[in-house]
Symmetry: C2
Subunit: 285 residues, 2 copies
Amino acid sequence: MIKAVPRCLDCVFNQAYRITEILSMDEEKAWNFLKNSMIALGNVPDKTSPLHMTRVMYDVLESFGYTDPFRDHKSYSIELARKFLSEMKNRVKNAEDPLFEALHVSAAGNAIDFGQRDTSPEKVRERLISVLEKTFHAPAYEEFRKDLEKGKTVLFIGDNTGESVIDTILMCLLKDKGYEILYAVRHVPIINDVTYQDAVASGIQECAKIIDSGSVYPGVILDESSEEFQEAFDRASVVISKGQGNLEGLYGVSEKVFFLLTPKCPHIAEIAGVPELTPVFYRAL
Amino acid sequence: MIKAVPRCLDCVFNQAYRITEILSMDEEKAWNFLKNSMIALGNVPDKTSPLHMTRVMYDVLESFGYTDPFRDHKSYSIELARKFLSEMKNRVKNAEDPLFEALHVSAAGNAIDFGQRDTSPEKVRERLISVLEKTFHAPAYEEFRKDLEKGKTVLFIGDNTGESVIDTILMCLLKDKGYEILYAVRHVPIINDVTYQDAVASGIQECAKIIDSGSVYPGVILDESSEEFQEAFDRASVVISKGQGNLEGLYGVSEKVFFLLTPKCPHIAEIAGVPELTPVFYRAL
């Protein structure tokens, strides 16, 4: 698991502030939510992880009566991602190495931050394409191909709702090759992460069996995951960990785990060994 | 005085985070300073001002043993600003209306954020020129010229160290026209704001008499200012309030006050009625 650095306090609090804008909180509620978040975050232990810090902030948000506050936001993200799906499918189909390109497209999907201000389809597509134009840093690709052949099961751990739609390209491709695909979701809504309901809305069941990771964090922590998840983890020959949150939780845990993401903060970019906003596929052990 | 909005919590805390980087705090100290700042800021009253919030954070910084932590930083800023001084002087001298251009150059000086990462002379000059290339929004200019003639004394309230050097162009021009110029500084070091010592190092005494505002905030609050400042305020026919902090403190206080700045946050830009990073000279009453 990744340990938080002081910068994480600023980042998580800035997320809290952006939540007040995304949810159009009235001024009094925003003050109270932000001040309570500050006090809660000001009391986290120094040895905590970014995942636990986000959970602390989210607990405060829930105490203000928000349950799945990103419901509408997530539905919009799915709708939006569907607009790019056939373009991305064609990109993969026409590629020299479709598996490599499917990984690339999936990593780039992670760069779309639906929490940003301008979420018009044009702007989101622009961001997606700008990441796709960068060289895909994939040092783990050959090992992944080799490890894939060791078994029949691939465990894919989902991250944000919206990119989940794009992830079906990679998963369907693997399914068509004869693999059983398991797709792990968060146990409860946290920010815009994929829950069971969001996975179904994203069409995941067309290529994968949806399972509950048991995670209440914006990333899976193996020790705190469900029995179903742990069994899937043991059974899979490879685990595709999508996004920053899952990397934070699963870092250093097993050599089965391949991290597929586009780092959006300097701390994670440094750990992944690439500049920020560079799509990357690598193994940490 | 300007009332804080929820966004100010995020901004002041982000300043605290940037301070840990500027001062190269070790990780343990950074954690402790940031967490203590969070708890202190999480307890401010909702009806507070941004100035009071910065003071709260700065009190925490001082409690960690930092006295005038920006000493070196301010010296560097002065040295840097001196590099641009003759270029800016020529710009004013060759202008069709030197007084107007001196105000413009002074406002643009406010846009140089020496707290930013890249503080190389090239980068800072680039930022200065980019603001100077924008149209100077100066609706108060004619009123200012008229009000200037009502007396003999101009009170100029300084803001950041470094831009203080650039401000001498405007003040020397007014002095040459026969005005007595008083230049108000902060009572104590707060962030990179001009203290008596910094004003002297900036060469202010060549064109103005330096007075103590009595302010312990990053802006002057009239009710809490020194007797010397209040007397100067009464005596002056016009008061030039430089930068965001002084605007926050003096907003709505007197029609003598002319605000000269380049807003660097959406809240102040909205109050000033210009887009962010647009140099502006206006009167609020």
